[in-house]
Every structure is written in C-alpha cells, then in structure tokens.
C-alpha cells in the first residue's frame, strides 16, 4: 500500500469541505446559466425553430428527448468513473458523486423513455415500439435502478458504496455489449420495416436550438449533481466542526426571520 503522504494534494481535492465551499461560490452563477439556457433553448425550439416537413410540430419534442437521453447515458459513465476512483483511491467525495449521480441518471433515463413514447404516438401511431434504442434505454433504466437498490440495501454506508461502485463498473463494461446485441437483435427481427430514426440531415435552424438545449442540460446536470452532493456532504460530515457552525448560523438566521 502506498504511503498516504504523497497524495495529500489529491485528498485535499477530494475534501468534502473544500468542495462544499467552492461550489457554494459557483452556485448562483450555475443557477443563472442553467435557467437562461433552458428558457432560451425551449423558447427557440418550441417557438422559433421551423416545423419538420414530415413530422410537423411533434418533432419539437426532440429538444427535450435528445439532450435528456444524452445526459442519461453520459451520467452512467460519470457514475462508474466516480465509483472506480472511490475504489482505487478510497476518496470519500467520489463515492458521494457516485451516489448522487444515480437518482439523477435514473430520472433522466425515465424522461428519455417518456418523451420518446409521447413523441412516438403522433409519429408512428404507437406509444411503444421495441426499437433498438428504446430497448437499450429501458435496460439502462434497470441498470440505474440496480445501482440505486444495491446502494440502499446495506446497513453500512461503506459496504453500499463499494458494492454499487463494483456494479456500476460491471455495468459499464456491459453497456457497449448490451447496446450492440440489442442493435443486432433489432435488425434480426425487423429486417424490412421503415427506419424509425430519421434525422439524417437536420436543417441548421433546427440544429442550433438543439445545441443550446444540450448545453443547457449539461449545465442542469452539473447543478443538480452539485446540489445532491452538497446535501450528502452535510449528512456525512455532520460531526465536523465546520458543519456544526454552518447549521447553527443557518438556524439563527431562520429563527430571526420567525421573530420578525
């Protein structure tokens, strides 16, 4: 085992207090950025982007569906990498990142499925088809739910962390295999039907708002992740002096408001 002393800088980077205080300074900016981008992207996409020639207005759901699906998948990798860092360097903060990424990812995956289904009804006449990408998304949802369930199944926080980190890593190795097999399965069973994924060349006017929405979702993801991690930090570091200080100050603040 390596001596701990060589790694002090790394551990400071992983110090929950440092993270809490630094992100506290970023938060107002991140809130503003997220809201501005979301509003801009939505108004642009829902109001100004031109209609799709074939799908009409229903195609506007793409401005939610694509960014959300994007982050749902990227979130799984982030979760697994955080878990791996936790396993290798025993960094507390990275387990907190992993634990926080799981519910966000699960909700985003659900949203990807939901928006996909709602989009499917006017476009293909049905809410659900066993399309390769939809099926893969469904499997991703269950991978997220597995990590969440395992995390909370243990009495010991630490055992839960390590177990779900290993599961997330195993899932990461498996995701490409699952996606490839589902793709192959789909072509096997639906050789001659119409291709459902029809966005070969998107008009630039349609693409720009999509880009804005993708950036907005990244910003949203960062914001939500940071908020979840901060709540987690308070819970885990509840005995630390700086957290006690913080709690007392917040309490006095709210007590003062009550009296007024």
């Amino acid at each position: 085992m390596a001596s701990n002393r060589d790694w002090t800088w790394f551990y400071r980077l992983g110090s929950p207090r440092w993270f809490y205080e630094t992100t506290g300074r970023w938060l107002p900016w991140l809130w503003a950025l997220t809201l501005v981008l979301l509003v801009a992207g939505l108004v642009w996409g829902l109001g100004y982007a031109p209609q799709d020639a074939k799908q009409g207005n229903s195609f506007r759901i793409i401005y939610l569906h694509v960014p959300v699906s994007f982050l749902a998948l990227a979130g799984y990798y982030l979760m697994a990498i955080a878990g791996a860092i936790g396993l290798i360097w025993k960094m507390k903060l990275s387990y907190m990142v992993m634990k926080s990424a799981a519910p966000i990812g699960a909700v985003l995956t659900f949203l990807a499925l939901f928006t996909g289904a709602v989009w499917g009804k006017p476009t293909w006449g049905t809410y659900w088809v066993w399309d390769a990408r939809i099926t893969s998304m469904l499997i991703l949802l269950f991978l997220y739910l597995g990590v969440l369930a395992l995390q909370y199944a243990f009495h010991s926080q630490e055992a839960g962390n390590k177990a779900s980190a290993i599961l997330a890593l195993v899932g990461t190795v498996n995701i490409p295999i699952i996606y490839k097999s589902v793709d192959w399965w789909y072509t096997l069973h639906q050789p001659a039907t119409i291709k459902l994924t029809s966005a070969p060349s998107m008009h630039i006017d349609m693409f720009q708002p999509l880009l804005v929405m993708i950036v907005a979702l990244y910003s949203f993801y960062a914001l939500a992740l940071i908020l979840f991690i901060r709540a987690e930090i308070l819970q885990r570091e509840r005995k630390a002096a700086w957290v006690c200080d913080l709690a007392l100050r917040a309490d006095q603040g709210s007590a003062g408001e009550d009296k007024e």
């Binding site: 269950f142 597995g146 199944a153 390590k162 097999s181």
Partner: protein
C-alpha cells in the same frame, strides 16, 4: 484435499452438491415444471409452440440458473469458510472460478442435457436440437459467471435473492439474445454458427473478467 486452488474448490463444491442431491436438482426440476406450464397457459397447438420454443427454453433456462445463483456464496459466508477462502495463500480468482465451474456443472450442464426433452415437448424442430444444446452449454456458463458477480455483491444481505435478480437480469440480456437467436436461426434453416461464436466470445470475456469482479466484490463487500 486441501483448500488450495481451482480444482480443490471445484471438487469440494461438487461433493457438497452430491451429498445434497435434492437441493442440487431443484433448478432442473423447476426448468421442467415451468416448461410444462407454457402449453397449458398458451396453447397446445404444435405450430404455435414451435414458434415460441426457442425463446421459452432460453427464458426458462435463465430463470432456473438465476434461482440457484443466490446460494453460490451464501452458505460459505454463513459458516465462515468464505473468510478462510479470502485469506488462503493464492490468487482469489482461482477458487472463485472453481466454485463457479462447479455451479455450472450442477445447474447449466444438466439443463443442457435435458433440453432436448423440453424441445420435443414444445415441438421444436429436430434440426434445432444440436444448436440449442450448444448454445445452452455456452450460454449457461456465461450466466453462472455473471450471476456470481451479483451473488458476491449481495452475499452479506439477508434477503439478497430478489435484489440479485434485479442486478443481474439486465446483464444477462446479451446472452439471451444470442442464445435464442442461435436456436431461431437453426429453425429458420440458416447458419447458426454465427450467433454461437458470439456466445463463445462472450464466454471467453466472462471467464477473463468475471472472476476478478467476483473476487473484488467478495473482498470489499462480504467483510463489512
């Protein structure tokens, strides 16, 4: 017989199953029983059954393997021999692989051997019998390895069985896709070696990777 190495664990687990034959045979009986439910629940029409047979046989084999996976490390964890395995002077992947191999020999292999019987009962065309057995042999070995990762992760939980199935079923998906596809392509009269070789590749990857994941899970999680 001492507790060192792959073959020692393989032999001991086989001996333990042999002493408890009834327990060891239950996945097999489950496999047979549930397959009988299908004609009763769907239809006894041979043509419809033949159409569904590849999928049904594979889903049943998967569930039967899953059922027996829970106990893979649980007994060892309870009586303390898992701890002795962790501190035996050898690479942890070896005894792990020995135990998983024993598990496959006790569940996957018997399933493979009786599957022609089920195929017969579900009117599976005779041309598909060999590909079915080959795909089940390779596929159930994959299932045992992947399931063992889940079993190792949940070994210290008192009621890990249901959780285990939530964890591993998504990981089983590629195996069932290519397993039933091998049988289906044979029924359709195409070359079934393609999907079968993908299964073989998956098995190789699983043999190379799973023992490490299982060992890591046992070391990190079971002790807490």
């Amino acid at each position: 017989m001492s507790n060192i190495g792959f073959s020692a664990y393989l032999r001991r687990d086989l001996l333990l199953s042999y002493r408890r034959l009834g327990e060891a045979a239950s996945p097999l009986i489950f496999f047979l029983l549930v397959s009988i439910l299908i004609p009763l629940g769907v239809s006894p029409d041979p043509q419809r059954l033949a159409e569904l047979a590849p999928g049904i046989i594979w889903v049943m084999a998967l569930l039967a393997t899953l059922l027996s996976t829970e106990g893979l490390f649980a007994a060892d964890h309870q009586d303390g021999s898992l701890e002795q395995m962790l501190i035996a002077p050898q690479l942890l992947a070896l005894p792990v692989l020995g135990k998983v191999t024993a598990h496959w020999l006790v569940t996957g292999l018997p399933l493979t051997l009786v599957s022609p019987l089920i195929g017969l009962m579900l009117s599976l065309p005779a041309v598909a019998t060999v590909p079915m057995m080959a795909s089940l042999a390779l596929g159930t070995a994959c299932l045992s390895l992947i399931g063992a990762v889940g079993a190792a992760l949940t070994v210290s939980l008192r009621k890990g069985g249901l959780l285990l199935s939530i964890l591993v079923i998504p990981l089983y998906i590629p195996v069932i896709i290519f397993g039933s596809a091998a049988v289906q392509t044979a029924v359709d009269g195409f070359n079934w070696l393609g999907p079968l070789s993908v299964l073989a590749a998956m098995l190789c990857a699983a043999i190379a990777l799973c023992p490490w994941a299982i060992g890591g899970a046992l070391r990190l999680v079971s002790s807490n």
